[in-house]
């Protein structure tokens, strides 16, 4: 291949990519399994009425005489006090009918004593001094009707009002659940900062990353679908695509666009470090022809129309696994790794994906994002993209720590990239990028032909701090299968995003039926809503929520992209398969 034949597919891919329209919609965090099915449990707890003025003394006395059992469930989510008028409606009705309020009494408040009271008599004795007493005569006399209604009670000693009521023993999973319980059981508080990071992502982190993902999610999901379409049309795989994006390049693009006053959208492709399509039909087993070889390779493979596991090739040919392997391969072939690699030559790395062993077997879009985006779309200087970890350390770690919520990521993207990649603005011609005619010749064609050196890759090498897919995001056309879900956790992605329309019953990310996510909040009884299998089409499935499981060591943020309008080009899949 000479430069011109290389240039034309890249140029045509450039037009394909430029034509991609962002989908309109928004992203929704995928709840964790524990959030959808929170542990629920109720018990009866004792409540007593005391004089409102004695509230703090009551707590001191109770805590001194009945210290909390350290082994018991913490009940910090329950409010200790509640005024009569603020009692949840059912409790208030009970109290009002059983113990009608006496207007002659000093204002009172209800105190939650606990689930078990080992010494009931002791508690009664302890609370005796704090029982609401009749108002002092001087104040009562100011209210004329009171003298009439309570003529003869003052001599009776007031009795301690104590009763049991149902309380939730686990903290609420959300403000909605907290409100629900507060209105029906007992006032509770939802504390998002409580140490529940294994149950759900830190809300600040989630919020921050969601904000950074949201503006471009429609574009990258659209690109994933373009990759999917290409894979399907090639006959080599099902219509599934994966797009790996580096959020640090996104931030850098935004910053540069803001500084120089242009629309950053035209540069969004530059943040894509790799794309990959499904090629499950392209595996040549036992040296024979693959499913796609048997097909004429024009249009979708007939094997798409049904699910026959013999034709499915295997999860290592799925889009996400291939994209991960493209990143790994780029690292293995980095110059600094060359010596290591020679030493390993006696035991070559097994390419479990046969389609990755030869660069020309990459699809046009895969090639474009690996080889061409860096040199053709980004400014020339950016081909020297080599952020050294050293430059990011010019600011002291301590300073960085307080400079940004995520010190490492922010520091590297703002400091290192700004210094090393961004050329001085004086030497930079104003965007948009130069027309194709003036492009420099494509770089190192020979390298691309041999084992696929990636001369202009934006995939950071090991020496540049790149490690697996740490701090990268992956956008998919479909909900990934269980295998790919765990693969993305093992690859340490920061976040995974797929369109809600791409849910599959074989998927491993969704944590509950779409409708139930709202219904859970409506009646607070998650179990009844999320375990109904088969009630709606497409919901006859397991829900794993693998992105954020408390049982696992690695977790990623998970988002569904919800389109404003269904895309008729991508209807819900009719055949159940593993994406």
């Amino acid at each position: 291949m000479d430069a011109s034949t290389h240039g034309s597919p890249a140029a045509s891919m450039k037009y394909v990519v430029e034509a991609i329209q962002p989908l309109d919609g928004y992203v929704v965090p995928i709840k964790s399994i524990q959030e959808v099915n929170p542990p629920e449990g109720y018990d009866d707890a004792y409540v007593a009425e005391v004089d409102i003025k004695s509230a703090s003394r009551v707590i001191k006395a109770l805590d001194a005489s009945f210290p909390r059992d350290a082994s018991a469930l913490p009940l910090n989510h329950l409010r200790r006090f509640c005024k009569r008028e603020n009692l949840p409606e059912p409790v208030r009705q009970y109290v009002d009918t059983t113990y009608p309020q006496k207007t002659s009494m000093a204002p009172s408040i209800f105190v939650l004593l606990g689930i078990s009271l080992p010494d009931m008599e002791g508690v009664r004795a302890l609370l005796e001094p704090f029982i609401p007493v009749p108002r002092p005569r001087s104040r009562a006399s100011q209210e004329p009707q009171e003298t009439a209604s309570t003529p003869s009670t003052p001599e009776q000693s007031p009795e301690l009002l104590i009763f049991r009521t149902k309380i939730p023993i686990y903290p609420p999973s959300s403000t909605e659940v907290a409100n629900l319980w507060s209105q029906s059981l007992w006032p509770v508080t939802f504390n998002p900062a409580a140490s529940r990071s294994t149950v759900a992502p830190n809300p600040q982190t989630l919020n921050r990353d969601q904000k950074s993902i949201e503006p471009r999610a429609g574009y990258y999901v659209s690109l994933a679908r373009e990759v999917a379409l290409e894979a399907k049309q090639s006959g080599r795989g099902r219509g599934v695509g994966a797009v790996i994006v580096d959020p640090r390049i996104e931030a850098q693009i935004d910053e540069k666009a803001w500084e120089e006053g242009y629309d950053s959208r035209e540069r969004w492709p530059q943040a894509v470090v790799a794309v990959a399509g499904d090629c499950r039909f392209a595996r040549a087993e036992a040296g024979g022809p693959s499913q796609s070889d048997r097909h004429d390779n024009v249009g979708p493979n007939p094997a798409c129309e049904t699910y026959n596991s013999d034709y499915e090739g295997g999860p290592d040919l799925h889009a996400l696994m291939r994209a991960v392997e493209l990143v790994a391969r780029s690292r293995r072939e980095a110059p600094e790794n060359e010596t290591d690699h020679a030493a390993m030559a006696c035991q070559p790395v097994v390419h479990t994906d046969p389609q990755l062993s030869k660069p020309h077997q990459l699809s046009a879009l895969e090639r474009y994002f690996l080889y061409d985006v860096g040199s053709h779309v980004i400014d020339d200087e950016s081909t020297s993209y080599r952020p050294s970890p050293d430059t990011s350390c010019q600011v002291s770690p301590r300073k960085r720590k307080f400079a940004a919520p995520n010190p490492e990521a922010a520091a590297e993207s703002l400091d290192a990239l700004a210094e090393t990649e961004l050329p001085p603005s004086t030497s930079l011609p104003a965007p948009p990028p130069p027309p194709l005619a003036s492009l420099p010749p494509p770089p190192q064609e020979a390298n691309g032909e041999s084992e696929g050196r990636l001369p202009t890759s934006r995939i950071r090498s090991r020496a540049e701090g790149g490690y697996l897919c740490t701090s990268l995001d992956v956008y998919l056309s479909h909900e990934p299968c269980i295998c790919c879900c765990m693969g993305l956790l093992l690859s340490r992605f920061r976040a995974v995003i797929y369109p809600r329309a791409g849910r599959l019953k074989s998927g491993g990310l969704a944590s509950g039926p779409i409708e139930a996510q709202k219904a859970v909040l409506a009646n607070g009884d998650a179990n009844n809503n999320t375990n109904t299998n088969g009630s709606q089409p497409g919901e006859d499935r397991e829900y794993y929520g693998l992105h954020w499981r408390k049982e696992l060591n690695w977790r990623a943020l998970g988002f569904e992209f919800v389109e404003d309008e269904a895309d008729e080009n991508f209807p819900p899949e009719e055949v159940a398969f593993h994406a």
Binding site: R283, E285, A286, G287, G288, Y307, S309, D310, E312, G313, G314, P315, D316, M321, V324, E325, V327, A328, R331, R332, M344, V349, V350, H351, T352, R462, L468, C469, C481, I482, C483, C484, C485, M486, G487, L490, S491, R492, K505, S506, G508, N533, D540, R541, E542, Y544, L546, R549, E551, L552, N553, A576, F577, H578
Partner: protein, 194 residues
């Protein structure tokens, strides 16, 4: 897990024991090359048709677990449909990724050395082998050469990780050679496959 057989039901001197020994040998090889010592073999018609060891460090790909390498090797010579008649012997319980892959590949049955309570997909954490799925379930047998599998892992984790940002000195660590399978905390004694 209903399909899990008790360790005592599979004798170590049986043919199963022989194949697990071969899986352990792959684990030894992984240990020698600085990989997490997990090894496996695929057995079709009483013959080893694929073998693998963890290869995540060298490949710089966190998904290159032993099972994937063994399957890739097998598929160079056999069609995918042959996996339906193939058994896997693996020193440590397959992680969730591999458990799911094995089900997609249609493995016939899986013999496991020891459970993995951090990542295990066939009982350790999840039960991918028997959950509702579009593929048939497969049976799992746990406990064959369990001590040997655990010892391999312990040998790996008393090493210092020179690549870690802050290597933890482990000079004083001695290889623990005791086994207390009644104690559930035993599982925490070794680290997960990563």
């Amino acid at each position: 897990m209903e399909q899990e057989a008790k360790p005592s039901t599979i004798r170590e001197d049986s043919r199963h024991g022989y194949f697990m020994k071969q899986a352990l040998a792959m684990g030894e090889k992984a240990l020698a090359t600085g990989e997490t010592p997990v090894g496996c073999v695929l057995v079709y018609n009483d013959k080893i048709v694929g073998s693998g060891m963890n290869d995540t460090n060298r490949s710089m790909n966190g998904t290159r677990h032993a099972e994937f390498l063994a399957i890739a090797e097998m598929l160079q010579t056999y069609p995918k449909s042959a996996i339906r008649e193939t058994d896997l012997y693996v020193t440590v319980e397959p992680c969730i990724m591999c458990s799911a892959a094995l089900r997609q590949y249609g493995i016939r049955s899986v013999f496991v050395g020891t459970h993995n309570v951090r990542f295990g997909g066939v009982g350790g954490v999840l039960t991918i082998h028997s959950d509702k799925s579009i593929d048939p379930p497969y049976p799992v047998y746990v406990g064959l050469y369990r001590k040997e599998a655990i010892t391999l892992l312990r040998q790996f984790y008393i090493q210092e990780n020179e690549k870690a940002p802050n290597p933890r000195p482990k000079k004083n660590r001695a290889l623990n050679t005791t086994f207390d399978f009644e104690n559930e905390d035993e599982a925490d004694d070794f680290m997960p496959i990563i």
